[in-house]
Amino acid sequence: MLLIHCPYCDETLPEVEFTYAGQAHVVRAADPASQSDEEWENFLYIRSNPKGPHYERWRHLHGCGRFFNAVRDTISDRFLTTYKAGAPRPELSSLLGDRT
């Protein structure tokens, strides 16, 4: 079972307190009506499936209830970092540099 750091509670807690909430940084356009069919299709359905670091959303459902973002390595399953919703996407190079 993974350990996950909630950036709002600032605590590292067991995975059972959290739920996965899909890929991160998929932005809903401010004016959806302006979106082409293809753009809307991309927003709704098209997701990346990387082997390695993946930007994704989690929710501290059985805790503070907040949605937050994370970078997780899909090979090792480990979290490289977590950060608050709305915070900028962290650079991969800085995260991967920490790995020994």
Partner: protein
């Protein structure tokens, strides 16, 4: 009965006899025996039949890696366990043991004809044999395979035992209490560190239990062990025996199963049978040792053929001599010591046969001194003996040529092909393995976990090396945790170290294609099968494994994987690291479902949510149905009524006078804040800005794809406060979706969302007399058409209780939903029930609710919709606020496929013969078209309707809204039913009945 017990040997207690039965016959053992050691002490090697060929088998090992000696164990009614390893199960007075995979008896088995058909049952046999004729599969092949397949028999009764689970947090978890684990524990047990040491065996000590000749720090090994264990306990180390580490999960979570009662003659009243531990450790030390490899030769599976190390354990730990005239067959020095030990215990070792042309001088010297004949550079090519090995056929090998055979009479063959580090748990961590050419085996390399491997588990042989490595690893772990440890390993005298070579199948002068040289005993896989798999194109070890089933039995290839790899690599002509090892997966040893399920069984398997009215409904004899996690009253049968009669009566009562319904399970969400109305405008399809305080509206929730997700009536209680209701099953999902949009898309909105499902209980009154019944009980609101029209809501007092009153209808009758704080709900219900008697008030359940709403064409999300239905498909375009700039799903509704012609529409169906359709039945336009027919929709809801006078149905039909009055066909197994497409409202389309 012959006794093979050696007086004065072993750690068993000869003064405490134990009696148990094996296949109904009584046997005597002593305290400390396993089933295997006790049977061997009685001269019994034959303990089971093999899986595929039903060959007679005896134990090949003395531990949890045992592939052959699987038995059933019974402790009175209900307590039967199949596939227990006889080498692990401790005996107690009255234990009932049965052998498996035999009919009619263990010594005479009809299934053994498979053995005669050996040449037929080769690798891929099932894939190749049962291909044709195709029609034979159902009636002939599958029943035959099912009868023959399976290991042991499943228990047939419910398990009466209880199982527990616990969490454990520690700084250091050490798996394996052999010399490496003990030394690691001692080194890590410094002030302030919580150390846990676990071992799957009944007592700690590991290999030390099998090597009584050792001296440690000048003391006999078992004296040293006893005092070391008390020192560890005094240092605060938690030592858990009979505890198996079954799996190593992310971030140093290790699952343990502790067996608490299987060794006890009487079950304590207050102890679970097993306990699952979820351990989160700072560091993990894996000190699991190594597992001895069998040699692969023709006839290497007869009862009496076993690993040399196992024979040593039976002698030194259990005081059992496994044979009087054993032959030792080896490619490793370690088996020589087994020969010496057995010779010293009164056996006459017939020969030491070593595949190597030369061995260490001191071994040869000792063999000579003990009078044991030695044959170097020899191979074994066959064995004989039906239920027990009688002889071993050996041949000299010179320059790759196999010479003339010699047959050696014997009653046991003790073999050793060297040792394999136990890498299972390490492998669970996705740890990388490195091939060690010298030892011809994989050793642990890197892992991302905070984990170290100590002792034989990383290829270090000998007790001194294990102690030193354990101590070093323990110090290292302590240092990593910021503690300074100075512990040093004790000195060992009499340590037996050695080396060996790795063999593939032993060379033979017989037809290798007919050899029964087993690699995987439990799945009956031979060397020939592996080579055949390679010849037939399986070039990946993963394919070889699946084609032959090598390593796929309950022992997870503990004995067979490395031999299988070596043979496959040889057949492929590639070095082993290029062929690779298959992945070990949890659990390490077979684990009971009881331990995994532990508390989560029966009533505790899943929680059952009950409303405050539930007990009343139960007392009234209600039938219940599960809805999500709720249990809801389904219908209230009177004596003699079946479901249909009860529902008919309940429906008539609602339409005729008044019915009372427990709607407490409705999801409720309080949406509050200055921006609440903006939030509602964006979430739901409907317009909310102009909805007045005290009014409510049916709301439709879509996903951004444009499909219906949920619905419910929403009341505006104040300019900044909405009382949102959701479907019973959708409550959590809707709140999650609202939170998602609020937190991540519109964080600028000042809105709070609170689940109030459990806080408000909802009692619905429906029927022409509903207002008459309720009005006298309501304070603060006048229940007239003018003052409180349909779709009104108010905060008021009902029956003296604070309430939120909604005038809504899910039946087409005058309807009210009274929400009161849940603790008061029963009080409200009782009062309404009492006051309603004059109107013949009738309690109705979910089935009647379903019928009444279907008569009005009100949808149930998830029944009449399936995640691909738009509001327009459902005939609810009126609920879409087209002029709003945006709402969730608005852009989705404009997608090309959602505006396409001929989508499936929700319509009504009336059958032309008056029969009732089946929900889920498929619909076609032309019943005479060839099969497979083009299906154009399905029936979503179907009920008998008393109000209509015939069954009614709702259905999704292609272009249905443009096909009113047309006939569609519903093919059923026995006939095809014709039905007419109608509107969805079957009763009171003008809504006249809603008026007070």
């Amino acid at each position: 009965m012959k006794s093979c017990r050696v007086p004065g040997r072993g750690r068993v207690d000869a003064s405490r006899p134990v009696t148990f039965t094996f296949d109904g016959r009584r046997y005597g053992g002593v305290a400390g025996d396993t089933v295997a050691s006790a049977l061997l002490a009685n001269g019994v090697h034959l303990m089971g039949r093999s899986f595929k060929y039903h060959r007679p088998r005896g134990p090949v090992s003395a531990g949890s890696e045992e592939p052959n000696a699987l038995v059933g164990t019974r402790r009175g009614p209900g307590r039967f366990e199949p596939n227990t390893r006889a080498t692990v199960q401790e005996i107690w007075d009255g234990l009932e043991v049965t052998s498996q995979n035999r009919f009619p008896s263990l010594s005479f088995d009809l299934g053994a004809v498979n053995d005669a058909g050996y040449m037929l049952f080769s690798a891929g046999f099932y894939y190749k044999t049962f291909m044709w004729p195709r029609g034979f599969w159902d009636k002939v092949y599958e029943p035959f395979i099912r009868r023959a397949a399976g290991l042991g028999a499943s228990p047939t009764e419910e398990d009466p035992d209880s199982y527990a689970s616990r969490n454990l947090h520690c700084d250091v978890l050490i798996v394996g209490a052999g010399p490496a684990g003990l030394a690691a524990a001692r080194a890590a047990a410094v002030e302030g560190l919580r150390v846990v040491l676990v071992d799957e065996n009944a007592e700690a000590g590991g290999t030390l239990l099998s090597e009584p000749h050792l001296q440690i720090d000048g003391r006999p090994v078992w004296d040293w062990l006893a005092s070391e264990l008390s020192v560890l306990k005094a240092l605060g180390v938690r030592i858990m025996t009979r505890t198996t580490a079954i799996g190593y999960y992310h971030q140093n979570m290790v699952g343990l199963v502790e067996k608490l009662t299987d060794h006890l003659p009487a079950l304590p009243a207050d102890t679970p049978r097993e306990r699952l531990w979820r351990v989160r450790a700072g560091w993990v030390v894996l000190a699991q040792g190594a597992i001895e490899k069998p040699l692969v030769f023709n006839g290497n599976d007869r009862p009496g053929v076993m690993l040399a190390g196992a024979a040593q354990t039976y002698l030194n730990r259990y005081g059992v001599r496994v044979g009087d005239r054993p032959v030792v067959l080896t490619s490793h020095d370690s088996a020589w010591f087994a020969a010496f030990d057995l010779q010293g215990a009164g056996a006459r070792v017939q020969a030491i046969v070593d595949t190597r042309p030369s061995v260490r001088e001191d071994l040869l010297h000792e063999a000579r001194a003990l009078g044991i004949p030695v044959k170097l550079g020899h191979t074994a090519t066959a064995s004989s003996g039906r239920l027990r090995v009688k002889s071993l056929r050996v041949n000299p090998v010179q320059g790759g040529r196999v010479g003339a055979p010699v047959t050696i009479a014997c009653d046991a063959v003790l073999m050793s092909g060297g040792w394999t580090p136990s890498l299972h748990l390490f492998s669970h961590t996705q740890g990388k393995l490195a091939w060690d050419e010298e030892q011809t085996t994989f050793l642990p390399a890197e892992t991302r976990e905070d984990c170290v491997i100590a002792g034989a588990g990383r290829g270090l042989w000998g007790v001194q090396a294990a102690l030193e490595d354990g101590a070093a690893r323990g110090r290292g772990v302590a240092a990593a945790l910021g503690k300074d440890s100075t512990a040093r390993a004790p000195r060992v005298q009499g340590d037996r170290t050695g080396t060996g070579i790795t063999q593939i199948e032993l060379p033979t002068d017989l037809n290798a294609g007919r050899a029964k040289a087993f690699v995987d005993y439990q799945n009956d896989v031979t060397a020939k099968d592996l080579r055949l798999a390679v010849r037939e194109g399986m070039h990946s070890i993963e394919h070889v494994k699946r084609y032959t089933t090598n390593g796929m039995a309950t022992d997870q290839g503990k004995l067979s994987n490395i031999n299988g790899l070596n043979i496959a690599a040889d057949a492929l002509g590639r070095p082993q690291p290029q062929v690779g090892l298959t992945t070990f997966r949890p659990p390490y040893t077979p684990t009971t479902f009881g331990a995994l399920a532990n508390y989560h069984r029966g009533d505790h398997f899943e929680l059952t949510r009950k409303t405050p009215i539930d007990a009343w409904a139960e007392a009234q004899g209600a039938a219940f149905e599960p809805v999500g996690q709720w249990r809801r009253a389904w219908y209230f049968p009177r004596p003699g009524e079946d479901m249909e009669a009860a529902v008919r009566r309940e429906c008539a009562a609602v339409r005729g006078s008044v019915g009372i319904f427990d709607a407490s399970t409705l999801g409720k969400i309080e949406v509050v804040g200055p921006d609440a109305v903006t939030f509602m405008e964006r979430m739901y399809t409907n317009p909310w800005a102009k909805l007045g305080v005290g009014r409510c509206r049916y709301g439709l929730l879509l996903g951004d794809d444009g499909f219906i997700r949920d619905d419910g009536v929403i009341g505006r209680l104040a300019p900044d406060r909405f009382h949102v209701t959701t479907t019973t099953g959708g409550a959590a999902r809707v709140l999650n979706m609202m939170e998602d949009y609020l937190q991540t898309e519109w964080p600028d909105l000042n809105v709070w969302l609170t689940s109030t499902t459990e806080q408000w209980s909802t009692v619905a009154l429906n029927g022409p007399n509903a207002a008459k019944l309720l009005a006298p009980l309501v304070e603060g609101v006048d229940l007239t058409e003018e003052a409180f029209p349909h779709m009104s809501c108010a905060e008021c007092t009902v029956a003296g209780l604070p309430a939120r009153l909604f005038r809504v209808s899910f039946t087409g009758e005058i309807g009210f939903e009274v929400n009161v704080p849940s603790p008061m709900a029963m009080q409200l219900w009782e009062r309404l029930w009492q006051e309603g008697q004059r109107y013949g008030i009738t309690a109705y359940g979910t089935e009647t609710m379903h019928v009444l709403r279907a008569e009005k064409g009100y949808i149930i999300v998830g029944q009449d919709t399936d995640g691909t239905v738009t509001p327009y498909d459902a005939g609810m375009g009126w609920a879409v606020g087209k002029s709003k700039p945006d709402f969730v799903g608005k852009r989705g509704l404009a997608r090309p496929d959602l505006v396409a012609k001929n989508r499936r529409h929700l319509v009504g169906l009336l059958t032309q013969d008056g029969s009732r359709l089946e929900e889920g039945a498929q619909i076609v336009f032309d019943p005479d078209q060839p099969i497979p027919m083009t299906m154009v929709g399905h029936v979503t809801s179907s009920y008998h309707s008393e109000a209509v006078g015939q069954p009614i149905a709702l259905a999704l039909v292609e272009g249905g809204q443009d096909r009113m009055g047309q006939t569609v066909h519903i093919p059923m197994p026995d006939r095809t039913i014709a039905a007419t497409i109608t509107g969805t409202v079957f009763v009171d389309p003008e809504n006249t009945r809603l008026k007070i």
